[in-house]
């Protein structure tokens, strides 16, 4: 327990100490929120979709969590290259403990980042429909954070250096975001796109957040929660397996 705690604490300390990283990773969600939110707002309104900022904000919060989480997981590559991973691998602790501690730490960091984005959306004019649902929104946000940190860890276990990082960002993480329904409603899409969204765990995360924050869902809260929980559990298992196989 103490081992997991200290691994978690390390991630939190590193996060809080790197102000440029905190601010830097707010840039993208902020840009999306302002340019898309205000840019497409009038059209969205005319097309009968209502207030676009209301619709977009949960998607942007998910985005903030997604990118921070993947990056936190992938950070293991730095630890591999800068040697710190060895320090944990020669210690009398199990690989699973290392993986769990790191993933919890990374997910907490991503969740904090999501909270900051949430506050920014409030400034931009977003108003959650009901405050009672905020704990549910937090739970969904935590699941998104866990899923994608575990995803990052799994990827980092397969890669030896940051060269593959761009590949993963452009061919996996970006499509995951753009095809999740974070930016547009999933209803009435071409069937192929709809199918892709159905296979995308983030789609359930965004949908769950939207349900909790503005009470509008494409799937339903129970489906979102079940699918997110199951896929997170599955990915944690895969991540642990891959992490256990790291050799240096």
């Amino acid at each position: 327990m103490q081992t997991i705690y200290i691994l978690w604490l390390r991630q939190i300390k590193r996060y809080l100490r790197s102000k440029p990283r905190i601010i830097g990773s707010l840039g993208q969600p902020l840009l999306f929120l302002v340019s898309l939110g205000f840019g497409f707002g009038p059209i969205f309104q005319k097309a009968g979709g209502g207030n676009y900022i209301q619709f977009l904000a949960p998607g942007i919060i998910a985005m903030g969590i997604l990118f921070t989480a993947v990056f936190s997981g992938i950070e293991i590559i730095w630890d591999k290259q800068f040697g710190f991973l060895k320090e944990t691998l020669v210690a009398p602790i199990s690989r699973t403990q290392i993986m769990v501690g790191r993933t919890l730490g990374g997910a907490t960091v991503a969740l904090l980042q999501g909270l900051i984005v949430f506050i920014i959306t409030l400034v931009a004019g977003f108003r959650p429909a009901s405050l009672n649902m905020l704990p549910i929104a937090l739970a969904i946000a935590a699941l998104i954070a866990l899923f994608f940190t575990a995803f990052g860890t799994a990827i980092a276990s397969l890669l030896d250096d940051m060269q593959g990082f761009q590949l993963i960002m452009n061919f996996v993480v970006m499509p995951t975001f753009f095809l999740s329904g974070a930016l547009f409603p999933l209803g009435g899409l071409p069937s192929m796109l709809e199918t892709v969204a159905r296979l995308n765990p983030l789609a359930y995360g965004v949908d769950g957040l939207r349900e909790a924050l503005i009470q509008s869902a494409h799937f339903s809260m129970s489906i979102d929660l079940v699918i997110l929980s199951l896929s997170t559990a599955l990915l944690l298992a895969i991540g642990s397996l891959l992490f256990a196989r790291i050799e240096i």
């Binding site: 710190f84 020669v90 397969l158 240096i248």
Partner: protein, 264 residues
């Protein structure tokens, strides 16, 4: 004498290359031994196997009486290690790095805090314990790594090229610490180095490894006698040849790295 490190027919093969080929040796408690060899000779692979980072292809290892393959955690508690490359967390303070180590090794809090203080004083970094490691010089980082490796009261200290890249002043300083540790705490020290004079001065026994096998072992005096040379460096060169290994090992390493960008 109690044998603190014992290997038997230790072998490691990667794909088709044999990095370590059937080596057997033992180290007594309280000894300082040097493991010398040209680049690519198998030194680091051997250390990785001794420290449970790499499973051997064949053979056995016992550290402090524990089996390094089946009883990993007992072995891990028995040794401290300073890796060839720095392995501190730069974003944490000196104290936090040691605290992290103490916690993951399960050292109880009271003993941990006392030991951290003691070790920080030992390597003369106590005054800077709350500074971030990224502001430390190379020599200070090395000293901190030595302190860290000792937090959990290990029986053996492994040092993989502990002084590479350091200036002579810092090197001397670090060796003073290591010798003091050996004298005062009876710590067994197993180190690799490319500086022959370090082995000559500090080691009670020397192993010379080349192409994955131990080609000579003994005290410096006995190695000088068998080779008929007047310095360990000359003896080393006569045993391992003058051919430069770096090129070959370097390109192989390079290829391995490229291939393993996608390992599976």
């Amino acid at each position: 004498m109690n044998k603190i490190i014992e290997t038997n027919s230790l072998t490691k093969t990667f794909d088709k290359t044999t990095a370590v080929n059937d080596i057997s040796f033992s180290v007594d408690e309280g000894e300082i031994v040097a493991f010398l060899g040209p680049n690519g000779a198998g030194k680091t692979t051997t250390i990785k196997m001794l420290t449970t980072l790499l499973p051997p292809t064949d053979g056995s290892i016992r550290i402090n009486g524990f089996d390094a393959i089946n009883d990993k955690d007992a072995v891990r508690r028995s040794f401290g290690i300073v890796f060839q490359d720095p392995s501190l967390d730069d974003e944490l303070t000196a104290f936090e790095n040691l605290e992290f180590h103490g916690v993951i090794y399960g050292v109880p809090k009271i003993d941990r805090r006392r030991r951290i203080d003691e070790m920080l004083r030992f390597v003369e970094l106590y005054d800077r314990k709350d500074e971030l490691v990224k502001h430390f010089s190379g020599g200070m980082k090395r000293r901190l790594e030595i302190a860290r490796g000792l937090i959990h009261h290990p029986k053996v200290l492994f040092l993989d090229e502990p002084t590479s890249g350091l200036d002579p002043q810092t090197r001397n300083h670090i060796w003073d610490h290591i010798r003091k540790l050996n004298k005062e705490e009876g710590m067994t020290v197993f180190f690799t180095t490319h500086y022959m004079e370090e082995a000559e001065q500090a080691a009670s026994r020397v192993f010379i490894i080349d192409k994955g096998t131990i080609v000579a072992e003994g005290t410096t005096a006995s190695l000088l006698q068998t080779t008929g040379k007047d310095s360990l460096e000359a003896a080393f060169l006569s045993l391992t040849g003058k051919m430069i290994r770096e090129e070959e090992a370097g390109s192989k390493e390079h290829m391995r790295m490229h291939r393993s960008v996608w390992k599976r």
